[in-house]
Symmetry: C2
Subunit: 321 residues, 2 copies
DNA sequence: TTGAAAGCGATACCAA
DNA sequence: TTGGTATCGCTTTCAA
């Protein structure tokens, strides 16, 4: 590269980085630029960050559980916002790698910041990451981790909203669907707990309803519905709600007449059901806000960990409850 | 690190990489391992790959358009399979960055392979990537790109299946939903074309139906349904099909009596509708196969580009058609 | 069995 | 205005 332009590697570096401390003549700049174009030269990020001692990479371990369209939009927005702040967002696939091993794999890349969704990170993990040069570690999940900033997304709130709503509508025997699918426990556990809290001390009952995401399983559950004696159910989310609604209706159980039904996530499909599905709308943090938090944390790595509750939940009342 | 264990950096490298060419005494190994643990030492991937001259990173530009749950599962499987072959999969968020700029950003990371979904890559881009050291470039999309391996996922097949099915069921005036959402054109265009091909020369007509993913838009379309005089519709996918089905039914149009309806993707929600939704099941390539293709390409970078059609489509006939 | 040293590519300082 | 050179952290060859 340097040879082709007939200049030194240093000069190449100056030109391509527009280094203002050094003045390079216009003809030289042109020669360098042309040579770069001709060779298809692209600088080597690893070499650069090795020399610089830091990178602009924000690493996000990709969640292993299938997660809805809301999350996808959130990620996209976040990437865009971080991109505007000149960070490079990289999603790291961590399927089949756990705990310490995963943390080490992340640390090897020496990202300037880590945004870890879910709960795969403990205080030791945070320490390893910080020692390896990460200037910010942010967790997105139900609980804060020592030493890391936390965006608290506690799905307990979601359950609480749903439970409260059903209780307010006069329901007293409330079922809560708990998906059997592995990996969803981090969400379903807190949601169930939220419903419990909503009716605590009222005499209303809460019944856990394990359910696999299959028609046959829903049919079996519906078949013993009357003996369960429930007058309402929080179906975990809109998709499970749709599954259960069809099964209940096939069984001749009126929704909401005999059993009220509420989902969560406010997906389009809920609006299209008959009856239209009541749901808990979940508000994820704005990508821009989160990007700013990351940027602040990177600029001031010594600042005390911030913990912010960012998961909003609100009932959207339609026809099914 | 080396100091703490009282050995040289070389020895540390030997121990942590289990270098078999060199014998290190057991006590030394222990000392090194303990020091590493105590310090939370993690090797520096950039330095390593700089020295080695290559990495094991497989880079996947993340698709910018919201894409369904099928794709998510495919990615997960692929990551797992590539992980088993000792590659590191990294999804690179490319929102708001285009063409050359994006290619350069990818090339900076010097990945050993690139898996590019969609159509953001041209022959020049491939050349830049290869010159920058990528041993394999694989595109996942509707058409092959010069110099790159191609997994041809031509959605024309999907439309063809749907069109053929509707024609075989005796329908002659076929509507095709084309989402207004930007970014979906890469899929909807070929699907529409596939329907056209299916009925070419038969006298059956194909009508393009632009539709936004909103209830109001669907209602407007349904309101003028009778004047369109269609007896069948391919609704792009199951979600649009659900949207349209509700709107048609609200308008008093019988499905499938007056208008047959078919979706695509074979989502659970289609099975739960009344009538149950006919659909085109799409079969993505298996992650394991793709991982093996990548591995082969990396091992033999000079091999001629392989192009393989990997998108299977089959009608699942239910009640709506 | 271990250590010293070269070198990967880019940057930044200092000298020319 | 430019070029030489040390440096980042790691691997690997060669020598001790």
């Amino acid at each position: 590269m340097a040879r082709l332009a007939g200049v030194s590697r240093a000069t190449v570096s100056y030109v391509l980085n527009n280094t203002s401390a050094v003045r390079i003549s216009e003809p030289t700049r042109r020669r360098v630029r042309e040579a770069a174009k001709e060779l298809g030269y692209v600088p080597h990020a690893a070499a650069r960050s090795l020399r610089a001692g830091h990178s602009r990479m924000v690493l996000m371990p990709a969640p292993t559980v299938p997660v809805g369209p809301l999350y996808g939009r959130f990620i996209n927005e976040l990437q865009w916002a971080l991109g505007r702040l000149d960070y490079t967002v990289v999603q790291y696939g961590t399927v089949g790698v756990h705990g310490d091993e995963a943390v080490r794999a992340w640390a090897e890349l020496r990202p300037v910041a880590i945004l870890a969704p879910g709960s795969g990170l403990d205080a030791r993990g945070v320490a390893v990451l910080r020692r390896s040069g990460a200037r910010a570690v942010v967790t997105l999940g139900p609980e804060a981790v020592e030493g890391a900033h936390a965006l608290l997304m506690d799905h307990e709130t979601v359950g609480h909203c749903a439970g409260r709503h059903l209780y307010d509508r006069g329901r007293r025997r409330i079922g809560v669907v708990v998906p059997r699918e592995p990996g969803l426990g981090v969400f379903s556990g807190p949601r169930l707990e939220g419903v419990r809290r909503a009716v605590r001390g009222t005499g209303a009952t809460v019944t856990e309803l394990p359910l696999a995401y299959e028609e046959a399983a829903a049919a079996r559950l519906a078949a013993r519905w009357r003996e369960l004696g429930l007058d309402a159910v929080f179906a975990y989310n809109d998709e499970y709600a749709m599954l259960l609604m069809r099964a209940l209706q096939d069984e001749g159980i009126a929704v909401p007449g005999e059993t009220a039904l509420i989902g969560a996530d406010d997906l389009m499909l809920g609006r299209l059901l008959r009856p239209r599905l009541s749901t808990v709308r979940i508000e994820l943090p704005s990508g821009r806000d989160l990007a700013e938090l990351v940027d602040r944390a990177v600029r001031d790595p010594a600042a005390p960990p911030e913990r912010r509750t960012v998961l909003g939940a609100a009932v959207v009342h339609r026809e099914s409850s």
